[in-house]
Every structure is written in structure tokens, then in C-alpha cells.
Amino acid sequence: MKIIYFSWLKEILGTSSENTKLPSNIKNIENLIKWLSAKSIKHKKVFLKSKNIRCAINHQIVNKNSKIKNKDEIAFFPPFTGG
């Protein structure tokens, strides 16, 4: 699975993406956030603010109950500020 980070998430983590293999018990975005939070202090710091974080699976905005698969591209980011 490819996970991409944008904006301040990227800055805290010090990386814009990571490739990872999901354990079989990680079924949805909420599981993924919990799992990633335990990965490092930086991840924990990012996902502490998870209420302010949005998510996309394969470029489609989704909610935290959405199902995920190993071949998906997941993106985490804050609310958009374009225009």
C-alpha cells in the first residue's frame, strides 16, 4: 500500500509518502490510523489531530469507515485551502 501525506502532516513526518504492507486485521481507514499511530512518535503526533485530517482512497474522498485493500493508494491531508 502506498500512503501519501500532504501539508503539515508531511512536515511532521519528514516524508511525503511511505510504502507498507498491511496486516490482515487492518480493514478500514480507522484501523489504519490506529495502526500507523503506533508506528512512531511522529505518526502518533500527526494522527492525534485526526479530527482535522481528511482521507482519500485512490483519489476519492472517503470517511473513516471506508474499507481498504493492500493495492490502494491512501492519502491523508488537512481540509483544502485552494482558490
Binding site: I4, F6, S7, H59, F80
Partner: protein, 146 residues
């Protein structure tokens, strides 16, 4: 026509394209980088986007607006990268038979871009950078009106 680009937007070129069709009304909106924010002078802003997703989201809105307000022409251009105060950031042009639809479509598109297209702004000041936060009022406007 939609475009996501690094370079400055040539406004007169886009206006010319907008006015090419036999239309009754044309409206454009140009977003410009501000020189200051609440905490002082801005050196430049930096816009990041999610390349694969940005074009798709803007295309969706172009199709939606063209159908809803019967647009003869719709141009949406958004920049990314480093942008200095006074430079343009975004151009929205709508052309149709009557002004009401042209105004409404243009306002809708820019409102949409603010909260639904995957762009993020950073304001760089002398010794700090500020991640611009989304404005609840803008998010609600899209929910209520459309």
C-alpha cells in the same frame, strides 16, 4: 478548459478565449496573492496539490457548472508552487447567454475550488510559515447553496 500550472496565468489570453464564442455575458474571477495576513507581511505563498486528484475534481466541477448554468465556455486555471504577493493564483471564466448564469457559475466554481479541490496553502513570512486553515464559512456555503 481546465489547467493546473506553475507559471503565471496570462489573463488577457484567457479573456480572449472566453470572448471567442457568440455569447451574451462573460464573467471572470482572478484570485490574487495578498501581501499581508493577520500577523504581518507575507514574503510569498506556496501552494501544494495532489496531482492525480486535482484535475479530476476540477473537471467534475467544470462539467457540473457547464450543465447547471448552460455555459458556452468555462475556463478554470489554478496555480501551484511559489507565488509572490500581487501575482495571480486562480482564474475562473464563465460565458453564457445571460449574465445571471455567468455570475452564479463563476461564484460557485471559486467557492468550490476553495474547499473541494485538493490544494493547500502555506504563507511564508520572514521567520515563520503558516499553514492556512480552511474557513468554516466557506465549507458551509458550499453545503447550503449547492
Amino acid at each position: 478548459m481546465i489547467k493546473v500550472q506553475k507559471q503565471k496565468i496570462n489573463i488577457s489570453e484567457q479573456n480572449k478565449k472566453l470572448l471567442m464564442k457568440k455569447i451574451g455575458a462573460a464573467v471572470n474571477f482572478i484570485g490574487i496573492a495578498r501581501p499581508t495576513n493577520n500577523s504581518g507581511k507575507i514574503k510569498y505563498i506556496e501552494i501544494e496539490h495532489y496531482p492525480k486528484m486535482t484535475e479530476t475534481k476540477i473537471k467534475e466541477i467544470e462539467i457540473f457548472a457547464t450543465k447547471k448554468w448552460k455555459l458556452d465556455k468555462c475556463i478554470i486555471i489554478h496555480r501551484y508552487g511559489k507565488i509572490k504577493p500581487g501575482e495571480n493564483i486562480v482564474y475562473v471564466g464563465t460565458a453564457t447567454q445571460h449574465r445571471n448564469n455567468a455570475f452564479k457559475a463563476c461564484e460557485f466554481i471559486i467557492d468550490y475550488l476553495k474547499v473541494k479541490a485538493p490544494f493547500w496553502k502555506i504563507e511564508k513570512q520572514n521567520n515563520k510559515k503558516i499553514y492556512v486553515k480552511s474557513i468554516k464559512k466557506d465549507e458551509n456555503k458550499i453545503k447550503i447553496n449547492y
